[in-house]
């Protein structure tokens, strides 16, 4: 297979030594079928073992290897190197604090996910003998797309609101909450809609649509945000008409 040499410019940052992130260049003989992640792994294995980056599954399922490739948030295991020129810049995901090199801090964002109760909420669980919760194809398709999120956080990296408003819960968390609101087995929509009407949630979205542009799993978080806005408004209106039990 044909090999070409490309230059990779990696962000390097060691919190014990560096005051600010710097860059380092590596020349890598890349094969034409390589993904961006293959080149970073090559650098780590063959050139400079001190490079830190996250990755795991190599098949766009685990969501670990999100990085900025030439300024755009990409899942590096799914991004073909053949789409890029001789010089490829790899940075850690934008809008996140850097832990080291290409590794970012995700802790605070996991709390945002938890705040939308991403699980099936029911007042009372069915007893085992009552059988399973059956769903029709239509009921499944109402939320299936939004359940494909792999928490790769590319949408947070692309979102202009996340960049300006650190408290914004963000596209993936809203899509995840909306996924459960649309689930016929769930009874927690009013709790989530209440959360969605708080500061820094659905109405902070400024319709840039960048989240859906960069989503590697076609979740279309922007659609989820807009549907969640509509549901939150309907829920709010119901609360006005029926103050008790309406929302």
């Amino acid at each position: 297979m044909r090999e070409v040499t490309k230059t990779f410019v990696l962000t390097r940052f060691d919190p014990d030594q560096d005051e600010a992130p710097r860059t380092q260049e590596y020349k890598v003989p890349v094969r034409e079928d390589w993904k961006v992640l293959d080149a970073i792994n090559f650098i780590k294995d063959e050139i400079d073992p001190s490079v830190s980056h996250r990755w795991s599954c190599r098949m766009a399922v685990c969501g670990s290897c999100g990085m900025m490739v030439n300024g755009e948030p990409k899942l590096t295991c799914k991004t073909a190197l053949s789409d890029y020129g001789d010089r490829v810049e790899i940075e850690p995901l934008a809008n996140f604090p850097i832990v080291r090199d290409l590794v970012v801090e995700l802790e605070g964002f996991m709390d945002k996910f938890k705040s939308v109760k991403p699980w099936i909420v029911r007042a009372k669980q069915k007893a085992a003998e009552e059988g399973t919760y059956r769903q029709s194809t239509e009921e499944l398709s109402a939320f299936k797309q939004f359940s494909m999120c792999i928490n790769c956080m590319l949408c947070y990296s692309a979102c202009p609101v996340v960049a300006n408003e650190p408290e914004f819960i963000g596209p993936a968390a809203i899509a995840l909450g909306h996924r459960y609101n649309m689930d016929s087995r769930d009874e927690g929509a009013s709790e989530r809609n209440q959360r969605f009407r708080e500061e820094g949630t659905v109405f902070s979205c400024s319709y840039a649509n960048e989240c859906s542009e960069v989503c590697p799993k076609d979740v279309d978080p922007a659609a989820a945000v807009n549907q969640a806005k509509f549901n939150a408004v309907i829920d709010w209106a119901k609360g006005l008409v029926m103050p008790k039990g309406g929302s």
Binding site: V161, N164, R197, E199, F203, S206, Y207
Partner: protein
């Protein structure tokens, strides 16, 4: 002000959403007819002659003054769309801190425009 804006956000969002609908469909069709089709002669120039336009504007469907509602929607809702979009755009460009003041001003303009539109259709 921030809390108040958050409270009225569902109402503003509804007006904004309808403004998008009106702005992209009705207003575009309106501009197409008035700005292009009439000057080109595709639509006869007396299509929107005063008497005909007045009849359209004062038309009723069942008991609904549909003509007046349509005019009101075309005039008022795009103002909310514009105000909300400009607000979002300014926030995206880093004006988050001034957002409460900017939003209040923009929505005040939209409110004034809407009130003027209501007055205008009532007087028809």
């Amino acid at each position: 002000m921030k809390t108040f804006l958050l409270k009225v956000e569902p109402v503003i969002w509804l007006l904004f959403g309808q403004g998008i609908l009106i702005g992209t469909i009705l207003l575009t069709a309106w501009l197409l007819v008035i700005g292009i089709l009439i000057p080109l002669g595709v639509v006869p120039s007396d299509a929107l002659a005063y008497e005909r336009a007045l009849r359209l504007a004062t038309a009723n469907l069942l008991f609904l003054p549909i003509g007046k509602l349509l005019l009101l929607a075309i005039m008022a809702l795009p103002l909310w769309k514009g105000a909300h979009h400009i607000r979002s755009l300014l926030v995206d460009f880093g004006g988050g801190e001034r957002d409460p003041a900017v939003a209040s001003l923009l929505y005040l303009i939209a409110t004034a425009g809407s009130v003027a539109a209501v007055m205008a259709v009532i007087r028809l």
